[in-house]
């Protein structure tokens, strides 16, 4: 079945706003803000171990 696009009114040449919208969708840039892993105390189950030369951690609960 051959579908003729011309059975409907052809869209007119795109204006500048339309062109901009189209081109901005063509190549989306990388995410501007990184979601890289950071320190999250709730994710570390062994916080209470005394780890020499590890990064500064929140103070341990009192014994």
């Amino acid at each position: 079945m051959s579908v003729q696009a011309s059975t409907r009114i052809s869209p007119v040449l795109a204006g500048s706003a339309e062109r901009s919208a189209m081109t901005s969708l063509i190549s989306e840039p990388e995410a501007p803000v990184s979601g890289a892993p950071v320190y999250s105390p709730e994710a570390v189950g062994v916080l209470l171990l005394l780890i020499l030369l590890s990064p500064k951690q929140p103070s341990e609960p009192r014994k």
């Binding site: 579908v3 919208a21 081109t23 901005s24 979601g35």
Partner: protein, 236 residues
């Protein structure tokens, strides 16, 4: 009282998602004809539908190239129409020129009328700046298709490693759309004798499970699965 037209960006973005979903459906075997003709014919806003054809560019041929789907005269006409309504311009950025040239070549190969894609050759970023090069390649992901002359005609081990690094960086930044685009190139290189230094299956599973959920990203991962070495559904 009339209001000024808002940017059609949102409407076009929705049309892109819709077309990407169709193309994806054809690749995964879950829906019928996914050619641009049907997409334009069924669209409520034909101009938006044509914008989507321009945005996806070479990827509208993906079902034909990867799954043996038909791409007939009406589909060719839809692409030609999209170029008529949204012609290439002198200010187009290099990646758009690359994509348009690939689309034009695919169109002629499938029997369509030539479209003028803009002729300026574009230089490529040196590959040793892996991060910048990967960013460039991500913007060219629709050229990662069999039979398309793209920026990576002869992938080598260095290219494979740079793509793997870009993919890793994107995943760590939780930028899943970019990760999918780079994984697609990594799969392309992998299928052409430059093995990926990552477990691509795990990468693609990961993107699908915790990625953006957009059809466009799902399309990149689906194509990546088909491009990797050892994948069964490849047409030359």
């Amino acid at each position: 009282m009339s209001y000024p037209d808002p940017s059609p960006h949102a409407v076009y973005a929705a049309a892109v998602e819709s077309l990407a979903g169709r193309v994806l459906g054809a690749l995964t075997g879950t829906r019928g004809p996914a050619g641009p003709a049907r997409h334009v014919e069924e669209a409520g806003d034909p101009k938006a539908a044509l914008a989507a054809v321009r945005v996806l560019g070479p990827d509208v041929f993906a079902p034909a190239l990867l799954a043996g789907a038909a791409f007939g005269p009406a589909d060719c006409e839809a692409v030609t129409e999209a170029f008529r309504v949204f012609p290439p311009g002198p200010d187009d950025p290099p990646e758009t020129v690359w994509r348009d040239r690939a689309t034009a070549a695919l169109l002629t190969r499938h029997g369509g009328d030539p479209v003028a894609p803009g002729a300026q050759p574009v230089s490529r970023t040196p590959r040793h700046r892996w991060r910048i090069w990967a960013g460039w390649m991500a913007r060219l992901s629709p050229l990662a298709l069999p039979g398309v002359t793209g920026p990576l005609p002869e992938p080598d081990a260095r290219a494979a490693q740079a793509l793997a690094m870009g993919t890793t960086r994107a995943l760590l930044r939780r930028d899943h759309p970019t990760a999918a685009r780079l994984a697609r190139w990594a799969a392309y290189a992998d299928g052409r004798g430059a093995p990926c230094t990552l477990d691509l299956g795990a990468v693609l599973d990961h993107i699908e499970l915790c990625g953006s959920g957009t059809a466009r990203t799902a399309l990149d991962t689906a194509i990546a699965r088909r491009l990797a070495a050892g994948s069964e559904r490849r047409t030359a």
